[in-house]
């Protein structure tokens, strides 16, 4: 895979112009998680109405992969029900990113999803069944 493929334009675009970046004033759900290996942190704020995601914001520090994944994920979940959000797995995230990742960068890619799941399940820590 070439470097250009690796950093596909849309990853760079989401990294440099993250969608839904920031915090919500009175979120119904707010979750934070971090990747202890690299120090990346993500916070997700959700506004829930009638069991669906009305609004979402994220903040945090992270590499292009983790931030792009978070940005894409926020676009993906807006309007979805909590049940639909719970059904999102790592395959969906990797599909959004459109690249193959090794085990180390996989953790970057999945941090946002992990944070989101902590929020919607109300769990302290969530691990997908098939996580690297």
């Amino acid at each position: 895979m070439s470097l250009d493929d690796f950093y596909r334009q849309n990853i760079l675009d989401h990294y440099q112009n993250p969608r839904n970046f920031g915090t919500l004033e009175a979120p119904d759900i707010s979750a934070e998680d971090s990747n202890p290996l690299c120090g990346d942190k993500i916070r997700m704020d959700l506004k829930v109405k009638d069991g669906a995601i009305e609004d979402v914001r994220f903040t945090g520090i992270g590499c292009s992969i983790s931030r792009a994944a978070a940005s894409m994920l926020t676009e993906e979940i807006k309007g979805k029900t909590l049940e639909e959000v719970k059904a999102i797995g790592r395959e969906e995230v990797l599909e959004m990113l459109g690249i193959e990742l090794g085990p180390v960068r996989l953790k970057c890619a999945l941090l946002a999803l992990k944070t989101l799941k902590v929020g919607v399940y109300g769990l302290q820590s969530w691990h997908s069944e098939d996580e690297g």
Binding site: Y7, Q16, C38, G39, D40, C63, S64, R105
Partner: protein, 415 residues
């Protein structure tokens, strides 16, 4: 800090022939391995030592009354003598084989620490410690109700010793300090620290994971009480390292792990312990690893540690100069004369993972992250940095490739 003028330079062309892995390609580019602080590559002399042991005299040590067992025991104990010579220990009885630096430090915290540190006692460490020389003391302090104090790091990446007298006041039992920072490369003034800690009756543990491979140490000249290092950061395999401790400390310390080999006599009502260092080597040890560590030390002795240090210094100066000339690059740590072969930096606002990923595509292996020094990175206000670190097989051309890779990362991220 004196600068060391190498009497002889390393013949890198010759050295590189000993490291088969350096011939491999990554993404179609020849491997440029600059993550030596993390672990080093292995020369054929070390690989052969492992192979010879398993092919020709594999047996357990100190037990069997047969030829193979005697050969294995001889080689294992010869490696201990080699380590003792390399560190200038008084005796090979002061060398305990372990899995590495982390286990060596945990041995001290569990054995010496649990016996000698009580409620209200103080352990002094520094803000630049690797987690392996921090977390064991946090665990001990929590268990015993002891207190941890930290020598601060200033913004040049040096220890700030202005309040050292105050930090060393009271029931200070131990100073645990890194000889050479794995994140900044800073070579700490350990001679002064040891002298001042001893003056108040505290013992000193040196985390020598970087200094033993890159500087060479003389435990008698330093007069440290404990010194921990790993084999895999100095050309030997993973899973082997050692603890040096003054004999009187080892004699007085209770065992760390219980099991076979560490005992003198076992009855169901209780046991007595083997003599040092065997008291601390429970279970079957990493025999091939110890023998290979001996081979690695002989390889380094053949090069000469002055020459190794001089080579590191040459590459470090070149790397500092090359990276400093790139707008947007921030380098952490002291000037070349006060650091070993380690350069940590950030590139514009590009995350260290992204810098490392671009470098990886150029065949260049560097570390990206907090390098197991989260408190230090917090101090500098960064989550992560990129770290390039050098060893005996690296060449100046690779520094140019590193700099070109960093520029490429800036292009990719439009930084």
């Amino acid at each position: 800090m004196k600068t060391v003028a190498p009497e002889r330079r390393l013949d890198t062309a010759l050295i590189r022939k000993d490291f088969p892995i350096l011939n491999r390609e990554v993404y179609g580019k020849r491997l440029v391995y600059l993550d030596n602080t993390s672990t080093t590559q292995k020369p054929v002399q070390v690989l052969r030592a492992v192979d010879d042991y398993y092919r020709t005299y594999n047996a357990n040590v100190h037990r069997g009354i047969y030829q193979l067992a005697e050969e294995a025991t001889e080689a294992y104990e010869a490696a201990r003598v080699t380590v003792a010579r390399f560190l200038n220990a008084r005796s090979s009885k002061e060398i305990v084989f372990t899995r590495g630096t982390t286990e060596s430090i945990n041995l001290v915290s569990n054995s010496w620490g649990r016996k000698n540190v009580g409620p209200g006692d103080v352990i002094v460490a520094t803000e630049m410690e690797h987690h392996s020389n921090l977390v064991p003391w946090q665990l001990l302090a929590e268990e015993k109700g002891a207190t941890l104090r930290f020598i601060p790091v200033d913004h040049s990446g040096r220890l700030d010793l202005s309040d050292l007298d105050a930090l060393l006041t009271g029931p200070v039992k131990l100073l645990a300090v890194t000889h050479m920072s794995n994140a900044l490369g800073t070579i700490n003034p350990v001679e002064e620290l040891i002298r001042r800690a001893h003056a108040v009756g505290a013992l000193v543990l040196l985390d020598a994971a970087q200094s033993v491979p890159h500087l060479g140490v003389d435990v008698r000249a330093l007069d440290c009480d404990f010194l921990a290092f790993s084999g895999h950061k100095m050309l030997a395999p993973t899973g082997i390292g050692a603890l040096y401790a003054k004999r009187e400390h080892l004699e007085a310390m209770p065992p760390f792990l219980g099991g076979g080999e560490m005992i003198r006599e076992v009855k169901l009502s209780g046991s007595t312990w083997n003599e040092v260092p065997f008291k601390f080597e429970a279970g079957t040890m990493n025999i091939s690893g110890a023998i290979a560590l001996g081979a690695a030390i002989e390889y380094l002795e053949g090069l000469g540690m002055d020459a190794v240090r001089g080579h590191d210094a040459e590459l470090t100066s070149a790397a500092l100069e090359a990276l400093r000339s790139i707008p947007g690059v921030t380098i952490y740590g002291p000037p070349a004369a006060e650091r070993g072969g380690i350069v940590s930096f950030t590139v514009s606002d590009i995350h260290a993972h992204d810098v490392a990923a671009v470098l990886d595509r150029e065949g260049i292996a560097v570390r990206a992250g907090h390098h197991c020094t989260m408190p230090l990175h917090a101090k500098f206000g960064i989550a992560a940095s990129t770290r390039a670190s050098f060893y005996v097989y690296n060449v100046l051309e690779e520094i140019d490739q590193l700099a070109a890779g960093v520029r490429k990362a800036q292009q990719v991220f439009h930084a």
